[in-house]
């Protein structure tokens, strides 16, 4: 940013909290990231990694630093932070402040489990944070926003599960964005050691479903040998928010990762998800469901990197598009030379519900080993008239029939999670979005 722009920003709104673009790093130690953020140029559409995207939506000039949360708001948001029926623990954040940390399952107090807000983890387990914090570079085009996150991150969740510890109930975290033009930078770092097992759900919500705002989240998953991690991110930011999600999943020997991104909110979302199949026998299931309507643009980029032999990845992204919504799916499978016996699959399905909706798909393969099985498929279509007719002949209104069909379409993704409680919660969120839409 030029200094002229900084001054202009300052003079325009002297009373409000500092503008993000002129704020500088959140704390000492984050200067390098801030410098990187200001140095990397803004994306342009001619960059293949931003192909199809409306890059002018990425303007951040209006957003301010997160403002403090008062007591009444705190109570209100805590009451609204409702996830699944029974969980192992819950952390609630709003505008990057920790509002609450509750432990429900003794498992979380077990020897060796570390479940802390990031700032506390940095203090108590600096070695862990140093070893894993944002170690995988954002390679799908979002380096600038990863740098922004690194320069602004104030809190988040660190979960370290030691060898052989299995936590059955899901651990939940809520991140709230509060106030007009506010910003937040949610962070989730999960480290599962050998044979550890855990499920984590992040909920991204806005206090006001129509307030403009900015969210720039990073979540990294590290799986040791034989570990089993399920990560769900239920994104429901305000309809006027601009949001980024940058995910890296590193899968060790014989480990199993499963990620699911449910995309409901924002005006413009950029999601990047990378699976590194680093140890032989590793497997990554990458799932996503998107319900896009109005003028939403949901831009998802994925990368399945098979670095070791005998690894498997299976991606399923499903988008339903209504009104003038746009979705972008650009995914790549790469099989490094030597990564034999790779089994990689990638499938994107778009269901178009309106004449103005637009689905862009760019599924890609880069294969450098021959003993592999790689397939991908992309389809775009609409609801079959027969299906609609069948339901309508049973007395169901056209709108309701449409919703049922879309629901069934998305349900396949949720079922792949194999976690009924979380599945029900996601279904409920999708329903709520449908209800709002009429």
């Amino acid at each position: 940013m030029s200094t002229a722009l900084l001054e202009e920003d300052m003079t325009e709104t002297p009373a409000a909290p500092a503008r993000l673009l002129s704020a500088g790093p959140a704390a000492p130690g984050q200067e390098a990231a801030w410098e990187q953020f200001t140095k990397i140029p803004w994306p342009t559409r001619t960059d293949e990694r931003w192909r199809f995207a409306n890059v002018k939506d990425l303007d951040m000039g209006a957003y301010a630093l997160p403002s403090p949360i008062d007591e009444a708001t705190r109570e209100d948001l805590l009451a609204r932070s409702r996830g699944v029926e029974t969980s192992a623990g819950r952390m609630v954040f709003a505008n990057d402040q920790l509002l609450s940390r509750e432990v429900y399952s003794e498992k979380l107090n077990q020897l060796g489990v570390v479940w802390l807000p990031l700032e506390q983890a940095l203090h108590e387990h600096p070695d862990l944070v140093q070893q894993y914090f944002m170690r995988e570079e954002a390679i799908l085009g979002g380096q600038k926003f990863a740098a922004l996150h690194a320069s602004q991150v104030r809190t988040g969740m660190l979960l370290y599960v030691p060898r052989g510890v299995e936590i059955d109930l899901p651990i939940e975290a809520f991140h709230w964005l509060h106030g007009d033009n506010s910003s937040c930078f949610p962070h989730t770092l999960i480290i599962a050691e050998e044979r550890a097992k855990v499920t984590v759900v992040d909920y991204y919500e806005s206090a006001d479903a129509n307030a403009p705002g900015l969210a720039c989240a990073v979540n990294d998953l590290w799986l040791g040998a034989g570990a089993n991690v399920t990560y769900v991110c239920a994104q429901n930011w305000s309809r006027k928010a601009l949001a980024f999600q940058i995910n890296a999943t590193v899968v060790g020997r014989d480990a199993q990762a499963r990620t699911l991104f449910a995309q409901l909110g924002t005006h413009h979302l950029r999601s990047e998800s990378v699976s590194h199949l680093r140890g032989p026998g590793g497997r990554s299931d990458m799932l996503a469901l998107t319900v896009a309507d109005d003028a939403q643009e949901i831009d998802a980029r994925t990368f399945q990197i098979h670095e070791a032999p005998n690894t498997a990845s299976d991606l399923l992204y499903k988008n339903s598009l209504d009104d003038s919504a746009r979705t972008i799916f650009s995914g790549l499978i790469r099989v490094d030379s030597g990564a034999h016996q790779t089994d990689a699959y990638q499938k994107v399905r778009n269901l178009l519900l309106s004449d103005e909706a637009e689905a862009n798909s760019a599924p890609g393969l880069e294969i450098e080993a021959n003993d592999v099985r790689c397939t991908h498929g992309a389809t775009s279509g609409q609801i079959e008239q027969e299906e609609l007719f069948y339901l309508m002949s049973r007395g169901i209104s056209k709108r309701a029939a449409q919703k049922l069909i879309v629901h069934g379409f998305l349900q396949e993704v949720v079922e792949r999670l194999d976690q009924p409680a979380i599945g029900a919660k996601l279904a409920q969120m999708v329903q709520a979005k449908f209800a709002r839409h009429t």
């Binding site: 021959n370 790689c374 498929g377």
Partner: protein, 470 residues
């Protein structure tokens, strides 16, 4: 289709790898400036509108950057200033084979051109470096009003048809290489098929690069008027030189209402040729355009035949086979632009990578808003023979609205060990078994080629497979 069986086909890699020293009467020298263009225009005796067109195209070429995100790094190895842009013997294309200069005749006879013509072609054109040396169309076909000649003759003799479509399907500024072609084009075919005329036998052109450091820039324009049908086939070869050679063609097809065009290419350039070709068709109402494209030779091929489906119920098809051996990169694909209701398109691509070869599929399917009943089907399958081979697939599909359907599928596989084992059990050598397997992989596409080409293709594949086992 020819009925008699053709047993000997004379186009394969080894037969193409020879050359004769030919004295060129006209040589524009190396490098490209506005003077080069004046030289070409003067030699060819072209009208002034072409001169202006070429100068403008050169400016566009110079101002355009090299392709960025679609390109391979290898493109940087093209040295434009070392290339010779125009070479010719100065003679007019002969109507009779006897009139073709002896040295050129030897070249084409070795490649089997007149022999093939006698057998089944409706017309033949042979291009040697920059100019057509031989152009002939069977009398019966000519009497139906079919025009088949070099593009230079076309623009001089039939400007009323030529100018109407020239550069309309592929504008000069479409990409850097189409601008280059527009600046220095020479040779290529011009075909016009009058309304309702169905050309029974294929028309063929044969392109030969004989000179080192030479750039061949042929320009082909085919117009099939209402309800007509035509099939065009082209073959390409060049001898192996020490230095790289550039082939950058522009091919424009126009299928008027209800017309059908099939365009068949078997490209077997030697492994030092940069083959950067822009091919596109416009299909009007109920017209059908089918590109059948086979890439076996060249060092780097970048070619994505496209169809703009402009009229209702138009249909576009691309059938593509690519074979990439050591040191080769076959970067091929297809573009389908749906611009009218009920248009359909089909893309089937199969690639084989051998040794250190790399094959890439890039596709673009665009169905813009408010169209109804558009359908696209894309299938691409890749076969990897060795562990060092590489394949990539990069499709891009944009669909708007509720009235359309697109599906894309791709797979990567290798030859199954069981299959090979089974065939070896039956007494085949490993190499034979491999060849048979690969031929099986492309068989359903090869069958869509004209018969004589499919036989040739199978032989080429066998040749390429030699020594790839073990």
């Amino acid at each position: 289709m020819p009925t008699e069986e053709i047993t000997d086909l004379d186009i394969d890699r080894t037969r193409g790898d020879f050359r004769y020293d030919v004295k060129h009467e006209f040589d524009a020298g190396t490098g490209l400036t506005h003077d080069t263009i004046d030289y070409i225009v003067n030699v060819k005796g072209e009208p002034d509108w072409i001169r202006d067109w070429r100068h403008k195209a050169l400016d566009i070429f110079l101002s355009k950057p090299m392709p960025t995100h679609w390109a391979s790094k290898d493109l940087e190895n093209i040295v434009f200033k070392d290339i010779r842009y125009y070479l010719s013997g100065g003679q007019k294309a002969s109507r009779s084979w006897e009139d073709v200069p002896e040295d050129m005749k030897r070249t084409f006879e070795r490649l089997g051109i007149p022999e093939q013509e006698r057998k089944f072609l409706a017309g033949v054109e042979a291009q040697f470096d920059s100019e057509a040396v031989y152009s002939n169309i069977k009398k019966a076909v000519g009497e139906q009003g079919v025009i088949f000649m070099g593009s230079t003759d076309g623009l001089k003799e039939h400007p009323e048809i030529f100018r109407k479509w020239f550069g309309k399907v592929i504008p000069t500024g479409d990409n850097k290489f189409s601008a280059l072609n527009s600046a220095v084009f020479s040779g290529g075919s011009f075909i016009y098929v009058p309304p309702g005329v169905k050309v029974k036998h294929p028309l063929q052109a044969y392109f030969r690069i004989n000179a080192e450091n030479f750039g061949q820039f042929e320009r082909t324009l085919i117009i099939a008027d209402e309800g007509s049908e035509v099939m065009y086939m082209e073959g390409c070869t060049a001898p192996k030189f020490e230095t790289a050679t550039l082939h950058s063609a522009v091919v424009e097809l126009v299928a008027m209402k209800g017309a059908k065009i099939q365009y068949v290419t078997v490209q077997n350039w030697s492994a030092n040729v940069f083959n950067l070709v822009t091919k596109r068709a416009i299909a009007h109402e109920e017209a059908e355009v089918k590109w059948i494209d086979c890439n076996i030779g060249s060092r780097l091929t970048m070619k994505y035949p496209g169809v703009v489906l402009k009229g209702r119920k138009a249909r576009g098809e691309v059938i593509s086979i690519a074979l990439a051996n050591d040191g080769q990169h076959q970067d091929t694909g297809a573009k389908m632009i749906h611009a009218a209701d009920e248009t359909t398109s089909n893309i089937v691509s199969k690639s084989i990578s051998i040794g250190k070869g790399r094959s890439t599929y890039r596709g673009l399917v665009h169905v813009p808003k408010h169209l109804k009943g558009c359908k696209n089907n894309t299938e691409c399958d890749a076969l990897l023979i060795n562990s060092t081979a590489r394949t990539d697939t990069y499709p891009a599909i944009t669909v708007r609205g509720t009235g359309n359907a697109c599906q894309h599928e791709a797979s990567v596989s290798q030859i199954s060990a069981e299959q090979i084992f089974y065939m070896q059990q039956r007494g085949l050598t490993e190499a034979q078994a491999m060849s048979l397997s690969v031929n099986g992989f492309v068989n359903d596409l090869v069958r869509q080629f004209p018969m004589e080409y499919s036989v040739e293709l199978k032989r080429l594949i066998d040749l390429e497979m030699e020594g790839s086992v073990g």
